[in-house]
C-alpha cells in the first residue's frame, strides 16, 4: 500500500514539476523480491513486518526494496544500492549464482552475467551466462581431471613415502645396533690399547726420563717460533683488510663490485658441483623407490648438497659481511659526506640517487653502462672496468687465501674426526675414495659381513694379546692401534649417519608424509634473467648469471600445508631480510611458476605439486560442477 502511495506521490510530483521526475527519481525495482537469494525468500515472505537480520529494527513489507535504507545491515534493500551493507543476488542461470555488493546495483556496469544488476534502464546488459558458464564449466572440468590424476599420483607418493620412511627407520635401527656393537668393540680395543700403552710406558719410562728435558726444551723453542710467526701473519692480514676497506671507501663503495668479487668464484663452485648433482637428482625419483643401493645414491646427493651449501654458505656469509660493512659505511653518512667533495659529478649523481633507490643503482649503473653510446662515456666505462678488474684481482687473491685457510681447518678437523660428507670440496683429498667405500660398506646389505669381520679381528686380537702379557710385542701393539683407529673411525661415521638420518626424520613431511619426496630436491624456474631455485627443507635462491641471492632458509609449512615459508634470506639494502612464501597448488608435476616480489625483498612463488591434489577438494569441485550443470537452463531459456 505504502509503496503504491509513494509512487502515486511521485507521479503527482512529476506532473507538478515540468520534467520527467518520475523516471529520474526512482530506481525502485518492479520485482519487490529482486536481489534475494532463493534460500532467503522465505525470510522475506513469511510476514508483513520483517526484522532486520541484525535484530536492530523492523520494517514493513512495503519498505522492502523501496530504495531507502532502513536496516543498518541492509536487510531491507537486497535489490537496490540504498544500503551499503546489502548484498545483491544474481541467479546467473547457465553459470553460477553470485552475491554482489550493493555498490554494484544500477551503477552502469554489467556485473552479473545475466545482467540482473542493471535494471534501471540506463544500460543494457546482454545475458552472457551461457558462454561464460560454458567456459567456467570447461575450466572446472579440466581442473577436476587434473585433480583426479593428481589424487592418484599423490596416493603413490604417499605410499612410497611410507615405505621409504620405514626403510629410513629400519636403517636407523640397524645403524643404532651396529653402533652399539661397535662401541663395545671400540671400548674393548681402547682398554686393550691402554693396557699396552701402560706397559709400553713403563718400559719407556726410563728412556723417556732421560730424553724428556732435552725434548721439552726443543718443543718450547719450536712453539715460540710458531707463535711469533702467527702473530706476524695476523697483523699482516689485518693490515690488508684495513687497506681494503679504505680502498673501498675511496672508490665510492659500490656494492656490486664487492658482490662480484666475492661471489664469482664461489658461484662457479656451486655450479660445478650442481651439474652432476642434478643428474643424480633426476634419476633420484625412480631410484629411491628401488633397492638399497639406490639409497646410497640418494645419500650421496644429500651429502654433497649439504657440503656445497656449507661452503657456499660460508662464502656468502663472507660476502654478506663485506656488503654490510660497506652498508655501514654508506649508512654512517659521515664518511660519505666527507667523501662527496672528492667525487666526480657522475659519481655524486649516482650516490645521491642511491639514497632513494638503494641497491637499485647497481642495476641502473649496469644499464647505464650498456646503454651509453657516447664515445666519451665508453672511455670512462672501460676505465672503470679496468679499475674493477684490478680490484677483483686483488681481492681474489685475498679470497683464495681465506679459502685455503678454511680448507686447512677442515682438513684438520678431518684428521681428528673423519666427517663423512667431505668429499666434494677438494678433489685432491686422499681420504675421499676410502670414505666412499666405507660409506657404502656401512649402508649396503652386506654390512653384517664387515661388522663380523671386525668382530673376528678384534676377538683374535684380544685373544692373541691376552697370551702375551709382557713384554709388549711391537707388531701386536701396532695391530691393536690400527684396529682401534679404524674401528673408531667407522664408529664416528655411523654416528654421523645416524644423526643425519634422525635429523631428516625430524622434518615435517605433511599429514600423510606427502612431502617426503621433497627432501633433498630442488625445483627451478627461470624468469627473465633470473633462475629461482626452491629447495624444500633447505633454502631458496635467486640466481642471476653468476651471482646467487638467498631468498630464505627453510622455515616451515604454513596455512595447513598450503604454503612453504623460507625466511632469513640475504639482507636487503634498505629493507628486511629476504623471504619467500611458496604457495602450493594441485598439479601433476612439481613445478615452480610465477615468482614475484610484491613488496621489496618479500618474494612469493607458486608451486604446483600432486601433494596438494586432495581427495576432499576433488569431491568439492565435483559437487560444484554438479550444481552448475543442474543450474543450466534449457537452451530455449536463453532466447
Amino acid at each position: 500500500m505504502k509503496a503504491a502511495k509513494a509512487r502515486a506521490v511521485l507521479a503527482l510530483l512529476s506532473l507538478c514539476v515540468l520534467s520527467i521526475a518520475g523516471s529520474a527519481s526512482s530506481s525502485i525495482p518492479t520485482d519487490p523480491f529482486v536481489g534475494i537469494a532463493p534460500e532467503d525468500l522465505k525470510y522475506y515472505k513469511s510476514s508483513d513486518v520483517i526484522k532486520c537480520k541484525d535484530g536492530s529494527k523492523k520494517f514493513a513489507r512495503a519498505q522492502l526494496n523501496d530504495d531507502f535504507c532502513d536496516c543498518p545491515d541492509g536487510t531491507d534493500e537486497p535489490g537496490t544500492s540504498a544500503c551499503p551493507g546489502a548484498k545483491f543476488y544474481c541467479r546467473n542461470a547457465g553459470h553460477s549464482p553470485v552475491l554482489l555488493y550493493s555498490s554494484r546495483v544500477n551503477d552502469g556496469i554489467c556485473d552479473c552475467c545475466d545482467g540482473s544488476d542493471e535494471y534501471d534502464g540506463k544500460v543494457n546488459c546482454s545475458n552472457t551466462c551461457w558462454e561464460a558458464g560454458k567456459v567456467a564449466r570447461d575450466k572446472l572440468r579440466n581442473k577436476i581431471a587434473t585433480y583426479k590424476e593428481g589424487v592418484t599420483l599423490r596416493k603413490q607418493e604417499v605410499e612410497q613415502a611410507k615405505l621409504a620412511l620405514v626403510k629410513d627407520e629400519e636403517e636407523l635401527t640397524k645403524l643404532k645396533n651396529e653402533e652399539k656393537v661397535l662401541k663395545g668393540l671400540v671400548q674393548q680395543l681402547k682398554e686393550r690399547k691402554e693396557q699396552i700403552e701402560k706397559a709400553e710406558e713403563q718400559e719407556r719410562l726410563q728412556k723417556e726420563k732421560e730424553e724428556k728435558e732435552k725434548k721439552e726444551a726443543e718443543e718450547k723453542a719450536e712453539k715460540e717460533k710458531i707463535k711469533t710467526e702467527e702473530e706476524a701473519k695476523q697483523e699482516k692480514k689485518e693490515g690488508e683488510i684495513k687497506a681494503e676497506i679504505e680502498d673501498i671507501g675511496v672508490a665510492n663503495t659500490d656494492h656490486e663490485k664487492i658482490g662480484l668479487v666475492e661471489d664469482t668464484p664461489s658461484d662457479q663452485n656451486v655450479e660445478d658441483d650442481f651439474e652432476p648433482l642434478k643428474e643424480i637428482e633426476n634419476g633420484d625419483n625412480a631410484v629411491s623407490r628401488g633397492q638399497q643401493a639406490n639409497g646410497v645414491d640418494q645419500h650421496v646427493v644429500e651429502d654433497k648438497d649439504e657440503s656445497v651449501s656449507q661452503v657456499s654458505q660460508k662464502e656468502s656469509e663472507i660476502a654478506v659481511e663485506d656488503v654490510s660493512r660497506a652498508d655501514q659505511m654508506t649508512a654512517s653518512g659521515k664518511d660519505l659526506s666527507e667523501d662527496t667533495e672528492a667525487l666526480s659529478k657522475e659519481e655524486l649523481g649516482r650516490l645521491v640517487a642511491s639514497r632513494w633507490t638503494g641497491e637499485k643503482t647497481e642495476k641502473e649503473d649496469k644499464d647505464g653502462i650498456i646503454e651509453d653510446s657516447e664515445g666519451e662515456d665508453h672511455e670512462e666505462t672501460s676505465k672503470d672496468a679496468h679499475v674493477e678488474d684490478e680490484d677483483e684481482y686483488a681481492s681474489d687473491a685475498d679470497d683464495d687465501d681465506q679459502r685455503y685457510e678454511e680448507d686447512d681447518i677442515e682438513d684438520d678437523v678431518d684428521e681428528d674426526v673423519p666427517v663423512e660428507d667431505h668429499y666434494d670440496t677438494s678433489s685432491s683429498h686422499e681420504s675421499q675414495s676410502d670414505d666412499e667405500l666405507d660409506l657404502s660398506d656401512t649402508t649396503t646389505q652386506t654390512s653384517p659381513s664387515w661388522l663380523e669381520k671386525i668382530q673376528q679381528t678384534v676377538r683374535s686380537i684380544l685373544q692373541a694379546v691376552n697370551l702375551f702379557q709382557t713384554p709388549v710385542d711391537k707388531s701386536e701393539a701396532a695391530r691393536v692401534r690400527k684396529e682401534y683407529d679404524e674401528s673408531s673411525a667407522k664408529l664416528s661415521k655411523i654416528e654421523s649417519r645416524i644423526s643425519k638420518l634422525s635429523d631428516k626424520l625430524k622434518y615435517d613431511f605433511g599429514k600423510d608424509k606427502e612431502f617426503y619426496s621433497f627432501y633433498g630436491r630442488c625445483f627451478e624456474s627461470k624468469q627473465n634473467k633470473y633462475v629461482y631455485k626452491v629447495c624444500p627443507y633447505k633454502q631458496a635462491t635467486q640466481e642471476e648469471g653468476h651471482s646467487t641471492t638467498r631468498l630464505g632458509q627453510w622455515d616451515k609449512f604454513d596455512d595447513a600445508y598450503r604454503v612453504m615459508i623460507f625466511s632469513n634470506g640475504d639482507r636487503c639494502w634498505n629493507g628486511p631480510d629476504r623471504s619467500l612464501k611458496v604457495r602450493l597448488r594441485c598439479g601433476l608435476k612439481n613445478e615452480v611458476a610465477e615468482v614475484d616480489e610484491p613488496s621489496r625483498c618479500e618474494y612469493v612463488a607458486l608451486l604446483s605439486t600432486p601433494a596438494l591434489c586432495l581427495e576432499d577438494k576433488l569431491k568439492e569441485l565435483e559437487h560444484k560442477l554438479e550444481l552448475m550443470e543442474n543450474e543450466q537452463p534449457r537452451p530455449h531459456d536463453e532466447l
Binding site: L12, L13, V17, A21, P84, G108, D377
Partner: protein
C-alpha cells in the same frame, strides 16, 4: 662579537651532532654560508641610505626616486654611493597596493643585463583592477620634520610614502592607524648591478661547487611590519607550525631564517624552518586588534625571511610612531627586483581573495581528482595494476585513480613505457576506465641524454635545454643518469612541450590518463644543494638564480597546458606537482613531497596543508602513510582517517617499503581504512562545492580555525585541528594508542559529532575518548552539509545517485549551506552549465534557492538527481510530517541514524524520501 662566536660554536656543535640524522644537513647552505643572507642579517636597523625624492603622479601611479643620503664622512670603507632607484606605487581595487622598486636604468645606455622580473604570474585581470591615481597630497605625519606623500587606496585606506627616511605604509584613513609598512626599521638595501672592480672575486664556492656569479652581488633586503598582529603565517613550504615562530630576537636560540629555495630534500625533518620543494613569498598576519593583512613579494630568487621576536629592535633607537601591537619581519632575496603587494584585508578571507586576485584563482578540478588516489613507487607491471584494482573491488573500497611512478617508463624516458612490464598501456587504461577509474603517470623535467630518445633529440637540436654558465647544454644527473633540463621559461618551448601530451605524441596514452610532475625544483643529484647551479642560463639570458623558485611552476604550467590542448580545451587538466610558486594553483594540485611514516610527520602535515591553502594552493595533500618507512597499522589507519579530509587524498609509498594497500593488515584494519575512504566519498558533494568556492574566491577548502573564527584568540596558534569549509571541524589523532583526545571547539554555537550527532558546546575544550574508528569531526551548528550516502567503485558511477542533506541547527533553529554540481569534467561550467543551490533552514522551513546568476551563461546542465533523505540535528520539536511545496506533498519524519550503518538516535530527525529534485526550487516545512 661574543654572541657571534658562541653562535658559531653552537652551530659547530649542532652540525657535529647532526650526523645521525638522515637529513643531509651539511649538503645545504645555511644563512652564514650564503653571503647575501649573512650580509643582510648583520645589517643594523636604520642603516638604509635611501630617501624618497621627486614624488609625482605618472600614468596613474605614484612614482619617485630613491636617492642615497649624503655619505657620512666619518665612516670608513664606504661602499661607493648608490645610484638612485625608481619606485612605483600603484593602487588596485579590493584593497591591494603594489610597490615596485628597480634600478633606474638610464635610458640612453642599455645595460647588458637587466634585473629579472617574473613574468606569467600576475593574471591579466589584475591590471584591469588598477585605480588610476589622480593626485598625491603631502602632509607632515606625527612629529616628522619631513613630509610624506599620500595617495588614495580605498575609502578606508591610504598609501603613504614617507620621504626621509624612506618608508612606505598603508594606514587607515579615519584613525591613522597603520596596517602594513615597509622599511620602518631602515633595513632596506639594494645591491645594484655594477662593473667588476679589478681584483674583485665574485665567485662563490659551496662544497665542491663553484658559482661564477658573473653579475656580482645583486641582493635586496628590507623589513616589513604587520600592525595589530598577534601572529604571522604563510611563506611555504616547510615542515613547521602554522603560526610562524620568531627566528631572531631576545630569548631566541640561534635559528636559521625561513628559507624559500625549492629543493629536493631527502628525508626532511618535521619542525624545521628549512625550505622544501616550493616557495610562496606571501605572508599573512592576523591579530585580534586589527584583523588580517598580507604581504607578497613577487621574486623567484632565493629568499630568506626572519620573523623578529618582540624586542629585537630594542637597541636600535627606532621607535615606530604607533602604539599598536606589531610583528616585524625581515626579507632578503639574492636577486630580482622589489615587486611587493600589500593586502589590506581586513578579514582572513579578504586577504586570500586579494592574493589570488593577483596570482589567479585555483583551478576547478575534475570530480575524480578530489576522490581517493592509490599510488606506490611502483606498481610494477600490468598484472600488478590489475590485481590491485581487483582487490579494491573485492574489498568494496572505492578509489578513482591508480598511479604509476618512474619505473613504468622505458629507462626513465618519460612519455615511453617499459616494453616488458607495460606492453599494453592503452588496454590497461581502458580496463580501468571501464570501471570509471583513471590513471596517472609521472613525467619529470629531466631528459635522458640519449640520442635515440625523441624528446632529447628534438630538445638538443632545437636548443631547448637550459644552458650552463659557458653556454653549453647543462648536464646533470637524475633518475635516467646523465640528463638535461628543458627550459620552460620560453613560451615557444612550453608550447612544444605541451604538444608532447597529445594522444598521437604520447604513445600509449588515453583520455583517462593524467600527469604527475615530480623533481621539478629542479632536482639535480650532482648539483649544488641537489639542484641546478645558479649560474645556469635560461631563455633571454636569465640566470637560474633569478628564476630558480619559479622553475617548477613553469614546468607545471607547460604540462597543464599540454593536457588542456590534448582535450581541445574542454577537459580540465589534472597535474600534480611537487615544486610550486605563486600561481601554481592555476595549474593543479601539489603535495608535501617525500614525508616519512612517523606520527610527527602526520601531525605536521596539517599545518603544512593549512599554510598551502592560505597561500592560494587549496588543492594539496600529504602522502597518506608516509613515503619513507613502514607505518605501523595504527599509524596507517590514523593517516587514512585524517587524510580523508585532505583536499588531495592520495596514499603513496617508497619502493623499499612493504606493501600497504588497505587490505593487507587484517580484517579490522581493512574495515577502518575502508570507512575512512568512504567518509571522503560520502562527503564528496560537500568537498566539490568547496572546491568551487576556492575556484571562485580563492578561499581554501581546508582552513585554519581562525579563518572561520577570526575573533577567537584561542584559535590563532592552533594547528592540530582544522576546518573543512565553514562547516566541519576535524581534529587529528597524532599519538600511538591514544586513549583521549582534546578538542577545542570555537565559537558560541554547538557542534555535532559527525558520526553520532551528539552535540558539544562551543568555546570549550572537550576531552573526549579517542575513538578507534575515526578521528573526531564535528559539524558546526548553523550549517547544512550535502552528502552522498551510497558507495560505488568510483565517482563515475555516482552521477545519478541521490543526495542526503544534513542540517545542523543553531540556537536560533536556523542553518545554511550550499551545493554545487556540474559535469565534473569539462569547462562547460564556465558557460553556465552547473547547478548551484543554497539551502536555508529558517522558521521550521527548508528552502532551496538558485545561486547561479541568470547571466552566467547559456549552456545547460541537467541533473535528475533527487534528495533521498534530509537529516535534522538539534531540532527543538518532535515533528511527524513534512510538507513539500510545490505540490503540497507529504513526507514522513522519523528518528534515524546519522550514518546509514550507525544506530538510530533520538536527536537525529530524518525526513524519509522527500523525492525532490536537486535542480529545482522547493520548500519543505517540518510539521
Amino acid at each position: 662579537m661574543r654572541t657571534r662566536l658562541s653562535l658559531f660554536l653552537l652551530l659547530l656543535f649542532l652540525s657535529s651532532c647532526a650526523v645521525v640524522l638522515s637529513w643531509k644537513k651539511e649538503e645545504f647552505r645555511n644563512c652564514n654560508q650564503t653571503p647575501f643572507c649573512k650580509r643582510a642579517r648583520s645589517r643594523k636597523p636604520g642603516s638604509s641610505p635611501f630617501l624618497a625624492a621627486d614624488v609625482s603622479i605618472s600614468d596613474g601611479d605614484l612614482v619617485a626616486k630613491l636617492v642615497p643620503r649624503e655619505p657620512d664622512p666619518d665612516q670608513e670603507d664606504q661602499e661607493p654611493p648608490a645610484r638612485p632607484l625608481a619606485l612605483t606605487l600603484s593602487a588596485y581595487r579590493d584593497g591591494v597596493m603594489r610597490v615596485k622598486i628597480d634600478e633606474d636604468y638610464p635610458s640612453q645606455e642599455s645595460p647588458h643585463k637587466r634585473r629579472f622580473q617574473v613574468p606569467d604570474v600576475i593574471v591579466s585581470e589584475f591590471e584591469s583592477k588598477k585605480l588610476w591615481l589622480q593626485r598625491v597630497s603631502t602632509e607632515r605625519v606625527g612629529g616628522d620634520e619631513g613630509v610624506s606623500s599620500i595617495v588614495y587606496l580605498s575609502d578606508e585606506y591610504e598609501g603613504v610614502v614617507r620621504h626621509d627616511p624612506f618608508e612606505v605604509y598603508v594606514r587607515e584613513r579615519s584613525s591613522g592607524d597603520r596596517v602594513l609598512s615597509m622599511n620602518s626599521h631602515g633595513l632596506f638595501d639594494f645591491e645594484q648591478l655594477r662593473e667588476k672592480k679589478e681584483g674583485e672575486d665574485w665567485e662563490e664556492r659551496f662544497r665542491s661547487h663553484t658559482d661564477t656569479r658573473p653579475y656580482g652581488p645583486q641582493s635586496i633586503s628590507f623589513d616589513v611590519s604587520f600592525y595589530g598582529a598577534d601572529f604571522v603565517y604563510g611563506i611555504p613550504e616547510r615542515a613547521a607550525s602554522l603560526a610562524l615562530k620568531p627566528t631572531r630576537g631576545p630569548g631566541i636560540d640561534h635559528s636559521e631564517p625561513y628559507r624559500l629555495f625549492n629543493l629536493d630534500v631527502f628525508e626532511y625533518l618535521h619542525d624545521s624552518p628549512f625550505g622544501l620543494y616550493g616557495a610562496i613569498p606571501f605572508m599573512i598576519s592576523h591579530g585580534k586588534a586589527r584583523g588580517t593583512s598580507g604581504f607578497f613579494w613577487l621574486n623567484a630568487a632565493e629568499m630568506q625571511i626572519d620573523v623578529l621576536g618582540e624586542g629585537w629592535d630594542a637597541d636600535s633607537g627606532i621607535s615606530l610612531p604607533s602604539s599598536q601591537k606589531r610583528v616585524d619581519t625581515f626579507w632578503m632575496s639574492e636577486a630580482g627586483i622589489v615587486d611587493a603587494f600589500f593586502f589590506i584585508g581586513p578579514g582572513p578571507k579578504d586577504v586570500v581573495k586579494q592574493y589570488v586576485g593577483v596570482t589567479g584563482n585555483p583551478a576547478m578540478p575534475q570530480l575524480f581528482a578530489i576522490a581517493y588516489h592509490q599510488c606506490r613507487w611502483n606498481y610494477r607491471d600490468e598484472e600488478d595494476v590489475e590485481n590491485v584494482d581487483a582487490k579494491f573491488d573485492e574489498h568494496d573500497i572505492p578509489y578513482d585513480v591508480l598511479w604509476l611512478d618512474i619505473e613504468h617508463t622505458d629507462g626513465k624516458r618519460y612519455f615511453t613505457w617499459d616494453k616488458v612490464l607495460f606492453p599494453h598501456p592503452e588496454e590497461m587504461q581502458r580496463k580501468l576506465a571501464a570501471k570509471g577509474r583513471h590513471m596517472v603517470t609521472i613525467v619529470d623535467p629531466h631528459i635522458k641524454r640519449d640520442e635515440s630518445y625523441h624528446i632529447h633529440k628534438e630538445a638538443s637540436k632545437n636548443g631547448y635545454y637550459v644552458k650552463d654558465a659557458s653556454g653549453n647544454d647543462f648536464e646533470g644527473w637524475c633518475w635516467p643518469g646523465s640528463s638535461s633540463y628543458i627550459d620552460m621559461l620560453s613560451p615557444e618551448i612550453r608550447s612544444w612541450w605541451a604538444d608532447k601530451f597529445s594522444f598521437e605524441n604520447y604513445v600509449g596514452s588515453t583520455p583517462s590518463l593524467y600527469i604527475w610532475n615530480d623533481m621539478n625544483e629542479p632536482s639535480v643529484f650532482n648539483g649544488p644543494e641537489l639542484t641546478m647551479p645558479r649560474d645556469a642560463l635560461h631563455y633571454g639570458g636569465v640566470e637560474h638564480r633569478e628564476l630558480h623558485n619559479a622553475n617548477g611552476y613553469y614546468f607545471h604550467m607547460a604540462t597543464s597546458d599540454g593536457l588542456l590542448k590534448r582535450g581541445n580545451g574542454n577537459d580540465r587538466p589534472f597535474v600534480l606537482s611537487r615544486a610550486f610558486f605563486p600561481g601554481s594553483q592555476r595549474y593543479g594540485a601539489v603535495w608535501t613531497g617525500d614525508n616519512t611514516a612517523e606520527w610527527d610527520q602526520l601531525r605536521v602535515s596539517v599545518p603544512m596543508i593549512l599554510t598551502l591553502g592560505l597561500t592560494g594552493l587549496s588543492f594539496s595533500g600529504a602522502d597518506v602513510g608516509g613515503f619513507f618507512g613502514n607505518p605501523e597499522p595504527e599509524l596507517l589507519v590514523r593517516w587514512y582517517q585524517l587524510g580523508a579530509y585532505y583536499p588531495f587524498f592520495r596514499a603513496h609509498a617508497h619502493q623499499d617499503t612493504k606493501r600497504r594497500e588497505p587490505w593487507l593488515f587484517g580484517e579490522r584494519n581493512t574495515e577502518l581504512m575502508r570507512d575512512a575512504i568512504r567518509t571522503r566519498y560520502m562527503l564528496l558533494p560537500f568537498f566539490y562545492t568547496l572546491f568551487r568556492e576556492a575556484n571562485v574566491t580563492g578561499v581554501p577548502v581546508v582552513r585554519p580555525l581562525w579563518m572561520e573564527f577570526p575573533f577567537d584568540e584561542a584559535t590563532f596558534d592552533k594547528d592540530e585541528a582544522f576546518m573543512v569549509g565553514n562547516s566541519l571541524l576535524v581534529q587529528g589523532i597524532f599519538t600511538e594508542r591514544a586513549k583521549h583526545v582534546s578538542v577545542y571547539l570555537p565559537g558560541k554555537e554547538s557542534w555535532y559529532d559527525l558520526r553520532t550527532g551528539t552535540a558539544y558546546l562551543g568555546s570549550k575544550t572537550h576531552k573526549l575518548e579517542a575513538p578507534e574508528d575515526h578521528v573526531p569531526a564535528f559539524q558546526r551548528a548553523g550549517t547544512i552539509i550535502p552528502r552522498r550516502d551510497r558507495f560505488r567503485r568510483s565517482t563515475t558511477q555516482t552521477v545519478n545517485d541521490p543526495y542526503t542533506l544534513v542540517i545542523a541547527l543553531n540556537s536560533s533553529q536556523t542553518a545554511e549551506g550550499e551545493l554545487y554540481i556540474d559535469d565534473g569534467k569539462s569547462f562547460e561550467f564556465k558557460h553556465g552549465a552547473y547547478i548551484h543551490r543554497r539551502f536555508v533552514f529558517k522558521g521550521g522551513k527548508l528552502t532551496s534557492l538558485n545561486m547561479a546568476p541568470a547571466t552566467s551563461g547559456n549552456l545547460p546542465f541537467k541533473s535528475e538527481c533527487i534528495i533521498e533523505r534530509i537529516i535534522i540535528l538539534g531540532h527543538a520539536g518532535g515533528p511527524k510530517n513534512a510538507l513539500i511545496e510545490p505540490g503540497n506533498l507529504k513526507a514522513q519524519v522519523e528518528f534515524g541514524p546519522l550514518l546509514l550503518q550507525g544506530r538510530s538516535s533520538s536527536g537525529v530527525l530524518t525526513i524519509r524520501k522527500p523525492g525532490i529534485r536537486i535542480a529545482d526550487d522547493w520548500t519543505i516545512k517540518v510539521l
